[in-house]
Subunit: 212 residues, 2 copies
C-alpha cells in the first residue's frame, strides 16, 4: 500500500491514523504542496489524481482518492479494530460527525482556498486569518453542541471511531492558526485522549519524513 500525502495535509493525516490503528504498513510518498509551485500540479501526479489534491492511496492496482472513501475501504478490507459501529443509526451518527468536519469545516480552509484568498482576491493577512477563524469557530461551535449529546472519552461514547480520526487533524489545523479553543472543552478533551494513542502520535505531521 502506498499513501501519497503531505505532512500538513489534514486529509492525508486522517488516512495515516486509520492505517496505524489497523496496524497496516504502507509506503509514505510525500507530495510537496508548496515547493516547485506545488508538486500536486506535476504531470505525473495529475495522472494519478486529476484533482491535484492529496491524498491518493494505492493498494496494488486499486487507486483511490478522498480520505473518507479510503478509510471506508480500509474498514471493509481490514475490519479490526472497527472504526464504525455496527448499528445503522449509530454508524450514521459517526459518519455525520466525520462529514461535519470533512464537508463543513476543512474544505473552506484548504491550501488552495487560502491561495485564492491571498492571490486572486488579494486579501490582507488579517482578512485571511478572520476567514480561517470564522469557519473554524462556526464548525467547532456546532460540533461541540453535537458532542454534548454523543461524546464520552471519544466523539461517540467511549469507542474510537472515524469521527475522532477526522477531529484530531482539524484541531491540529486550528492550533496552527492559533484558534482560541476555550469554548470547546469536549473537542479539546477528545483531542487530548486521542493524542495519548500511538496510532495518532505516529501519524502527527511533525513525525512525517517530509516535515519541515
Amino acid at each position: 500500500m502506498k499513501l501519497y500525502g503531505y505532512w500538513r495535509s489534514s486529509a492525508a493525516y486522517r488516512v495515516r491514523i486509520a492505517l496505524n490503528l489497523k496496524q497496516l504498513s504502507f509506503e509514505n510518498l510525500p507530495v510537496h504542496l508548496i515547493k516547485n509551485g506545488g508538486e500536486q500540479h506535476s504531470i505525473s501526479y495529475k495522472a494519478l489524481n486529476p484533482a491535484e489534491l492529496v491524498p491518493t492511496f494505492t493498494d496494488g492496482d486499486i487507486s483511490l482518492n478522498q480520505s473518507l472513501a479510503i478509510i471506508e475501504y480500509l474498514e471493509e478490507m481490514y475490519p479490526e479494530p472497527a472504526l464504525l459501529p455496527q448499528d445503522p443509526a449509530a454508524k450514521a451518527k459517526v459518519r455525520a460527525l466525520a462529514l461535519d468536519i470533512a464537508c463543513d469545516i476543512h474544505p473552506l480552509n484548504n491550501l488552495r482556498v487560502l491561495q485564492y484568498l491571498s492571490g486572486t482576491l488579494a486579501l490582507t493577512d488579517e482578512a485571511k486569518t478572520a476567514w480561517i477563524q470564522h469557519w473554524l469557530h462556526t464548525g467547532f461551535n456546532a460540533l461541540e453542541q453535537r458532542l454534548r449529546r454523543s461524546a464520552g472519552q471519544y466523539c461517540f461514547a467511549d469507542t474510537l471511531t472515524l469521527a475522532d480520526i477526522c477531529l484530531v487533524p482539524q484541531v491540529y489545523n486550528a492550533q496552527r492558526f492559533a484558534l482560541d479553543m476555550t469554548a470547546y472543552p469536549i473537542i479539546s478533551a477528545i483531542h487530548h485522549h486521542c493524542q495519548q494513542l500511538a496510532a495518532f502520535a505516529l501519524a502527527a505531521p511533525e513525525q512525517q519524513p517530509d516535515a519541515q
Copy 2:
C-alpha cells in the same frame, strides 16, 4: 420519515433523490434559508441541527444531519435498489466520486459562503461570480477526467449510484450560475440520463412545495 430541507439546497436535493429511488414516502418540511433572516437560524431549528444547515432527516426517534450519512443510512435500512456496488474497491470509487462533489465542490459555493463573500468581504457581484465559477470549473474538470475512466450511462458504468445522486444537484447549481458546460460532455450526458428518471424529476427543486 421527515426531511427538513429547502427547494434549492443541493444537499437536501440529494436526499430527496435517494428517498425517491428507494420509493420511501416522507414528509417534506421546508426551512426557508433566506426569509426572516434564514429560518435555519431559528431557535427551534437550531435545537434540531446546531450547524444551522439543511437537510436534517428524522426516522422516528433518529435524527441525522449530513446528506451522505443520511443516504448511507437509507442504503443500510432499505437496501433495494442498491446505491453502492458490493465490491469494496468499486464501492470506494463510487464514494470517492460522491465526495469529490460533496467535499471539493459544493462547500465552496454554499449559501453561507456566498453570504460571507458579499457581506464580510464586500466582493462585487463580478468577483463573487468568478469565485463560484472557479470552484465549479476546478471540480468539474477533475471529475470529467475521472469519469472518462469510470462512466458508462452513469458515473460508475451503467449502474445508478450515490455518485449520480450527488452529480445532478451540482449540475443544477452550475446551470443556475450559467456555467459553460461544453468542456464536460460526460457530466452533461450523465445528467441528461438521470433527468429521464422519475426519482430525479420529482426531486427537482422546481417540483418542491416551497419552490418560488
